[in-house]
């Protein structure tokens, strides 16, 4: 694999002022006693623009979630640096909100209370919080379920509530960790369209982790393809599809060709990885 | 769900977890050896503080006699054999009562899940008997069976019966149907399914019931011994207490701590052994 291009390092000056994420030579290893450390991420460098929808695509175990958790500040950066306009990432912060695959709604709070939680924390007043909560609950089509507990909702509805909770605080950076992974195919499709539309209306930095090629192509402006063990970024590709995307995007030639191209790249990785393990 | 089934799950901790702190406290984690070392150190430090506090007069030695005095007393009693008589009697009463409760309670629990009439009869009795303080019935058993071992063992069995029967009932009802169906599809008879599928599946909960019952049995044994006097740790301790023999009281405490530890840990080992197939063991 010679034609692989690492993401070029952009000059730091380009970052000044603009929102975005700069990942600079981040290496991460998991250590457990009595065993050699496992390198989850190997010298990852990547710049993500201020209004970019970026997908991290790769097989399970390639470290894409680890990279996302590092950006979120949930696990400490061991080596290298991650910078946002707020400075170096050292801890979680409300400007970088996250949606997890398993929703992570507070089960003892209703949908409305869950959405209000983030708003209260970011210092929004009571009345405005209520208004914003209503707005975002209706945005994800959960009006009428405000007072339901998460355990009373389907998986798709829970995920919509989690997305509303995260979007309501209007983070500069939105991190999504396979948010639609637990949903059925149909719900998934609907959610993808809605997410893209929401992002269209208020553009922000989105880092979206997935192992679904079509999902990545449909949603993202740029895609990083990762390889596993150690996790490296093997390709960074632009997605030259129109900004507005919908049902017909899926049938367009560009979409199909690009998906196939990326699928081949991903498959190469997988084959190489399997061979390496045998 | 009827009353007793709700009650069953409850005092146990979470649904299928033993009431032991060990499940998570003793986990194998990075630095486990260091942690273990520090914790052993904490115990030793407490022992030293106890000894030094009593010797140096920081603590009134009547309220807390020096550890070495207490150990010396245990040594003397061990030489004379008294310790072993006391421990043996207490252990015998606790285990015998516990055993009777298990031999009656487990079948009752199973029958409750399989027969409407048995369920009709025992369900309300369990839901009332489970939470009530059974120790209060001790004078009744003394009245009926006199003050010797019979009433002690029956009292212990009576306290242990409820958690065991309730846990068995909860464990054998509402089982996952797929293993039962697949056993049936292999042509297993209903009796075989009971022994080979239902009971293994209910085993975690039954064991949890036993793990709740055993400490209850020990508590009850000690109380019965204190109340009726005679040999056994409880009797010796209350005697020492009445004669203001604080060294004797603390010798009893050290002995009962050791006995309790031994008994409870043994049951945990049995559980790990019997549930070697269960995910909880591999955690």
């Amino acid at each position: 694999m010679s034609a692989l291009r690492q993401a070029p390092a952009v000059d730091p000056a380009g970052m000044a002022g603009a929102a975005g994420i700069r990942i600079d030579a981040v290496t991460h290893a998991y250590r457990s006693p009595g065993r050699p450390p496992v390198t989850a991420l190997d010298r990852i460098s990547l710049d993500i623009g201020p209004t970019e929808f970026h997908a991290l695509l790769g097989p399970s175990g390639c470290g894409k979630s680890t990279l996302l958790y590092l950006i979120g500040g949930f696990i400490p950066v061991q080596d290298g640096a991650i910078t946002t306009p707020k400075g170096r990432v050292t801890a979680p912060g409300p400007e970088r909100s996250i949606v997890f695959q398993n929703f992570a709604l507070f089960p003892w709070k209703t949908v409305r209370e869950n959405v209000l939680y983030g708003l209260r924390k970011s210092g929004v007043g009571r009345e405005e919080s209520e208004a914003r909560a209503r707005e975002f609950i209706s945005l994800v089509h959960l009006t009428g379920f405000e007072d339901a507990y998460p355990s009373q909702l389907s998986g798709g509805m829970q995920q919509r509530a989690a997305i509303a909770r995260t979007l309501a605080v209007d983070p500069k950076i939105l991190l999504m960790d396979e948010p639609f992974g637990a949903l059925d195919a149909q719900t998934r499709r609907v959610m993808q369209e809605e997410l893209r539309a929401i992002w269209q209306r208020s553009p922000k930095t989105v880092v979206f982790v997935t192992h679904d090629v079509q999902e990545a192509v449909f949603l993202a402006d740029r895609i990083s393809i990762m390889s596993s063990r150690p996790g490296r970024i093997q390709h960074v590709l632009d997605v030259p599809l129109p900004k507005e995307r919908g049902e017909d995007t899926l049938e367009s030639r560009e979409f199909i060709q690009l998906s196939e191209h990326i699928w081949r790249l991903v498959r190469e990785q997988a084959v190489a990885a399997t061979r390496g393990r045998l | 769900m009827s009353g007793s089934a709700q009650n069953t799950a409850v005092p146990v901790g979470a649904e299928a977890k033993p009431a032991s702190p060990r499940s998570r406290l003793g986990a194998r984690r990075p630095g486990a050896f260091l942690d273990l070392g520090v914790q052993v150190g904490v115990v030793l430090a407490l022992c030293v503080a106890w000894e030094a506090g009593a010797r140096l007069g920081a603590i009134n030695p009547f309220l807390l006699p020096p550890l070495t005095d207490v150990l010396a007393r245990i040594g003397e009693d061990a030489m004379s054999g008294a310790v072993f008589v006391d421990l043996g009697l207490t252990l015998y009463r606790a285990l015998f009562g516990f055993l009777i409760a298990a031999v009656i309670g487990i079948p009752v629990g199973i029958l409750m899940s399989r027969s409407r009439i048995v369920r009709w009869f025992f369900d309300p009795l369990l839901s009332i008997g489970f939470p009530m303080p059974k120790v209060a019935f001790l004078p009744i058993f003394i009245l009926w069976f006199d003050i010797y071992d019979t009433s002690k063992v029956i009292m212990v069995a009576f306290s242990c019966f409820f958690p065991i029967a309730a846990a068995t009932y909860a464990g054998t009802t509402g089982l996952d149907k797929w293993p039962i169906w697949s056993a049936r599809s292999f042509g297993a008879k209903e009796v075989e399914i009971l022994w080979e599928v239902n009971l293994p599946m209910a085993l975690p909960q039954i064991l949890t019931g036993l793990q709740v019952a055993l400490p209850v049995g020990m508590i009850t044994t000690v109380v019965t011994e204190m109340l009726m006097g005679g040999r056994g740790i409880g009797g010796s301790m209350i005697m020492a207490g009445r004669f203001a023999d604080s060294v004797g009281v603390f010798a009893g405490i050290v002995e009962i701590v050791a006995l309790g530890f031994l008994v409870v840990k043994s049951l945990e080992l049995v559980r790990a052994r019997l549930l070697a197939w269960h995910p909880e063991t591999r955690r």
Binding site: - | P11, A136, L143
Partner: protein, 271 residues
């Protein structure tokens, strides 16, 4: 018990559910096995196989109960007992919660407290009766201390296991929404651990009754346990039976009330 479960009344009559009459009938049918026990009791007593001394007839027991209740004797002693029981329990819940949460969130606290928990958890707490007697004598303080010590560990272990078992993604969610460490503890860890905390407290509630009665048998001059043992010593058996059944009923009722509160607290768990 719950309206959804098939109560015995379903089979017996075709009344619409949720009516008072239905519930009454359901309750009577459900607890009818108690009537069987009553019948056996009276039958044995009447048959003459067992002396009436050992098996007083229930009418006498009831009238004794009424006499003690109206005489104020029973209520006074019950109040004494419950005040001991609940002060010890309340103290244990406060201290146990703090210790359990500290253990779950701070390593030094865990290393300090865990060995003590491990050693004393399996100890039969009733063995502490002579100890508190030596420490604090025969007054109220000794029994409150006993109940406190006996109820402490179930609460500690419940809080610890609950707080340790909190889904880390919930903590991360709250952190990314801007919650600080203390807020995470108060707003995420405690509510998420609530089921196990409440279970621990329920075990503690049961222990508080057991230890209250046991200690009053042995070292007290009032309280229901003392009443039982002194009535027994005096050979006034019908009254003794009455107090014993009354204590059992209080223990049962306390657990019932607790479970209603608990279910209300944990409404969010029901699908």
């Amino acid at each position: 018990m719950s309206a959804a479960g098939a109560g015995p009344a379903d089979a017996a009559l075709a009344l619409p559910r949720n009516t008072l009459l239905f519930k009454l009938f359901d309750g009577v049918l459900r607890y009818s096995p108690l009537l069987v026990l009553v019948a056996v009791w009276e039958g044995l007593g009447l048959s003459g196989f067992v002396s009436r001394q050992m098996l007083p007839d229930l009418g006498t027991i009831l009238s004794e109960f009424w006499r003690m209740l109206t005489g104020g004797d029973l209520l006074y002693n019950t109040a004494r007992s419950l005040s001991r029981s609940f002060s010890g329990l309340a103290l244990a819940i406060v201290v146990g919660l703090a210790a359990g949460l500290a253990m779950a969130t701070a390593r030094p606290a865990r290393l300090l407290i865990n060995p003590v928990v491990q050693i004393f958890y399996p100890m039969p707490k009733s063995a502490l009766i002579p100890v508190v007697m030596i420490w604090l004598g025969l007054g109220d303080a000794s029994k409150v201390l006993l109940i406190f010590l006996g109820c402490l560990l179930p609460v500690v272990v419940g809080a610890y296991n609950g707080a340790r078992g909190v889904n880390p993604f919930l903590v991360w969610s709250a952190r990314s929404l801007g919650a600080g460490r203390f807020e995470v503890l108060r707003e995420v860890i405690v509510p998420a651990a609530m089921p196990e905390i409440l279970n621990g407290c329920r075990t503690a509630l049961a222990f508080s009754f057991i230890l209250m009665v046991s200690s009053e048998f042995l070292i007290a001059s009032d309280g229901v346990g003392y009443m039982i043992s002194s009535l027994g010593d005096g050979g006034i058996y019908p009254a003794m039976f009455a107090v014993i059944f009354f204590v059992a009923a209080i223990g049962f009722a306390a657990d019932r009330v607790y479970s209603v509160i608990m279910r209300r607290q944990l409404r969010w768990r029901e699908a």
